[in-house]
């Protein structure tokens, strides 16, 4: 009940004209970011983050999280109309969305996608409203060892549940950790891995890395395929919207399943991408005629969108309650919190009540505003996609460069961004996942601090990670998640493929 009152107070904060304005601007910017290739959710937020340093934190996070909602919505537009997923999490939406558009049912597909997104996001926000405070108050009892165990859990579940080659996930995580370690060591005050370079003393700012890895590399990947997009026309009128809405209750089971999958995948850092594929797969398995999937079945649009948004939203739960983001964009938002001087984690719910509940209330309102804005403005955004890419690409790259520069007014950072752009391009082509790298880069210092503090407390004995029931359970759970993937691989191999399973090199 106490939380309910806080939530209402949060609505008061979020409902000021000022903040509603930021919400609308954020959603529109987010849709643009989601529609344009090369400007994804994490990258869009990263570019705008430095511009919000001077703002009031609550307004700033409302603006940035609205960009996140907008990007989630925007990804669906390009997948359905152009068969180009604007974001990785909308890949599964193209399977049935684009066929629907080809059959002339684009408006229906878009309405279904947006509404499903809204339902998914809403279930995620409801989860945050009720569960985040509980998690936070539980986490107040955590010491450094427990926190390190939670970090371990996050990273292990990345490796164990990931769809990519496990050695590459692990390598990606390690790169993130090591990049985080470059520069001034916060505990001893010594310089690490700078090799005498003054530019490296500041370390690698994760925003620069994100802009390079997600922005520049995405442009390079996009131009590979040439510079012209061909798309379907779409106009949404209210009749189609209502007709589609009227048909939705029929699919309640699909929506419910997808939302559940999404929430689970979001809280454990499986992420929106995996969630959308799982949502699609489950809907297909449970469907009465699975054969119609891939040929323009509306369920094939509803399921992945609901799951992706439920995951994208739930990813903010561990970020707020524990300070551990569940997705790359959440990681960037977390970095923002640190910049504004807010320490994410359980104490946030006590010390910054107004901020937390303002943010949660803005999630409800932002998604509602997003649904309305996106339904009203689809033709506009579809038109953006028709602007030739030879105009769009240089503008995006210039904006990326400005974003990288403004973080700490350094031209060296623009070079870094360029370097990470090329690295990101090669990594994406070789299937190295980038999200673990960003996550490890953001969390690296804090994971290291808690590890060192835990060891300091125990005098160097690793037994501290099995000292009490709580930390022991977390570590065991982490190990189980880590081994989950290899074990299922082994079972698959034993069933007759005869191929050597990929063991993670985590044995060290």
């Amino acid at each position: 009940m106490d939380d309910f009152a806080s939530l209402m107070a949060g609505f008061q904060v979020a409902l000021s004209w000022h903040n509603i304005g930021f919400m609308a601007v954020g959603v529109v910017l987010g849709i643009v970011v989601g529609v344009l290739p090369g400007l994804g959710g994490p990258n869009g937020v990263a570019i705008l983050l430095p511009l919000t340093f001077g703002m009031d934190p609550t307004s700033a996070i409302i603006l940035l999280s609205s960009i996140y909602w907008g990007a989630l919505f925007g990804g669906a537009i390009t997948s359905i109309l152009f068969n180009i997923p604007g974001e990785a999490w909308s890949v599964a939406t193209t399977f049935d969305g684009y066929p629907m558009a080809v059959q002339g049912k684009a408006a229906e597909a878009l309405t279904a996608a947006f509404t499903a997104s809204f339902i998914g996001a809403l279930s995620g926000v409801i989860l945050i409203t009720f569960v985040a405070p509980l998690v936070a108050s539980f986490a107040l009892r955590f010491g450094p060892a427990e926190f390190f165990a939670v970090f371990l859990l996050t990273f292990c579940s990345f490796i164990g549940m990931g769809r990519e080659n496990r050695a590459k996930i692990l390598a990606s995580l390690c790169i993130g950790f090591l990049l985080a370690a470059v520069g001034l060591d916060s505990i001893s005050g010594d310089l690490r891995m700078t090799f005498g370079s003054t530019e490296l003393m500041r370390g690698f700012d994760f925003l620069v890395v994100v802009i390079g890895l997600f922005g520049v590399s995405e442009i390079l990947l996009t131009v590979e395929e040439g510079l012209v997009f061909k798309g379907k026309q779409a106009k949404i009128d209210l009749r189609v919207v209502f007709r589609t809405w009227a048909s939705l209750p029929r699919y309640w089971a699909t929506l419910l399943r997808s939302a559940a999958v999404g929430m689970w995948m979001g809280v454990t850092p499986g992420g929106a991408i995996a969630a959308s594929f799982m949502g699609y797969g489950i809907a297909k398995r449970f469907s009465r005629n699975p054969g119609s999937f891939g040929k323009g079945n509306i369920e094939g649009v509803l399921a992945p969108e609901t799951a992706a948004h439920a995951a994208g939203t739930s990813a903010l739960l561990p970020m707020l309650a524990l300070g551990i983001p569940g997705s790359a964009t959440a990681a960037v938002l977390l970095g923002g919190l640190l910049v504004w001087g807010l320490q994410p984690g359980p104490l946030l719910f006590i010390e910054q009540k107004e901020f937390v509940w303002g943010l949660i209330a803005s999630m409800y309102l932002g998604n509602l505003a997003g649904l309305i804005i996106v339904l009203a403005t689809v033709p506009l955004f579809a038109a953006i996609m028709r602007v030739p890419f030879s105009y769009v690409a240089p503008v995006i790259l210039i904006v990326c460069a400005i974003g990288a520069y403004t973080i700490s007014n350094s031209i060296f950072d623009i070079w870094l961004m360029l370097g990470f752009g090329i690295i990101g391009y090669v990594f994406k082509k070789l299937d190295y996942p980038l999200a673990p790298l960003v996550l490890a880069l953001v969390l690296g210092d804090r994971a290291e601090d808690s590890f060192r503090q835990a060891l300091l407390g125990s005098g160097g004995s690793l037994n501290v990670f099995a000292a009490n029931g709580l930390v022991g359970t977390l570590v065991v759970l982490a190990m189980l998640l880590l081994l989950w993937g290899p074990v299922t691989d082994l079972i698959g191999a034993a069933r007759g493929k005869g191929r050597q399973p990929e063991k993670p090199a985590a044995a060290e």
């Binding site: 430095p50 511009l51 080659n165 050695a167 590459k168 692990l170 390598a171 390690c174 790169i175 950790f177 090591l178 370690a181 060591d185 505990i187 001893s188 010594d190 690490r192 891995m193 090799f195 520049v216 442009i219 390079l220 131009v223 590979e224 395929e225 040439g226 510079l227 030739p388 030879s390 105009y391 690409a393 240089p394 503008v395 790259l397 210039i398 904006v399 460069a401 400005i402 520069y405 403004t406 007014n409 031209i411 623009i414 070079w415 360029l418 090329i422 090669v426 990594f427 082509k429 070789l430 590890f451 060192r452 060891l455 300091l456 160097g460 990929e502 063991k503 090199a505 985590a506 060290e508």
Partner: protein, 167 residues
């Protein structure tokens, strides 16, 4: 699945396996540098973990992972195309002007550099008429100036032109 696509006409290009190996070797080298640096500063225990303690342990895991990736690249049965020469051409057409752009920011300032960038890039791509290229090259920096310098008051790198204009 990969085998199916390979029976179709594959475009000529860099094959994937050498790139995979080069990247793995680079990662191994990085891991070695990390280990060298961490042990050089001390990765042991001195009234608490020394500052190389954590990076060194991550470095070992990193080394193991990248060695494994290298071994894997020798064992994987099929070899695809990493990037076809045609795609590589497209990518260089963006990357070339982009590098020029970043190099010009220091001497010319960001606005003039972006103008040059747009001119060079759009002429190379050559899908637009010359006047629309020139117009874009003038308008985009002006809009950027208005948004960042005047609205958000974020100072971006400026060069001789802006100084001459009094900014």
């Amino acid at each position: 699945m990969t085998l199916q696509t390979e029976t179709e006409a594959t475009p000529r290009g860099l094959s994937r396996r050498p790139v995979e190996r080069i990247v793995a070797l680079v990662l191994i080298a990085l891991a070695a540098i990390v280990l060298y640096d961490s042990y050089g500063r001390g990765a042991g225990w001195d009234n608490g973990p020394e500052n190389g303690f954590f990076p060194a342990r991550v470095g070992w895991i990193f080394l193991a992972a990248s060695l494994f990736i290298l071994v894997q690249s020798f064992r994987s049965p099929q070899d695809g195309v990493f990037v076809s020469y045609e795609q590589l051409g497209q990518v260089t057409r963006v990357l070339g002007p982009l590098i020029l752009f970043v190099a010009l920011i220091q001497p010319l300032g960001l606005y003039v550099a972006s103008s040059v960038f747009i001119l060079v890039f759009m002429s190379i791509v050559a899908t637009s008429r010359w006047w629309s290229i020139v117009l874009t090259a003038i308008l985009v920096p002006l809009v950027c100036f208005w948004v960042f310098e005047l609205q958000f008051r974020v100072p971006l790198p400026k060069g001789p032109l802006e100084t001459a204009l009094g900014y």
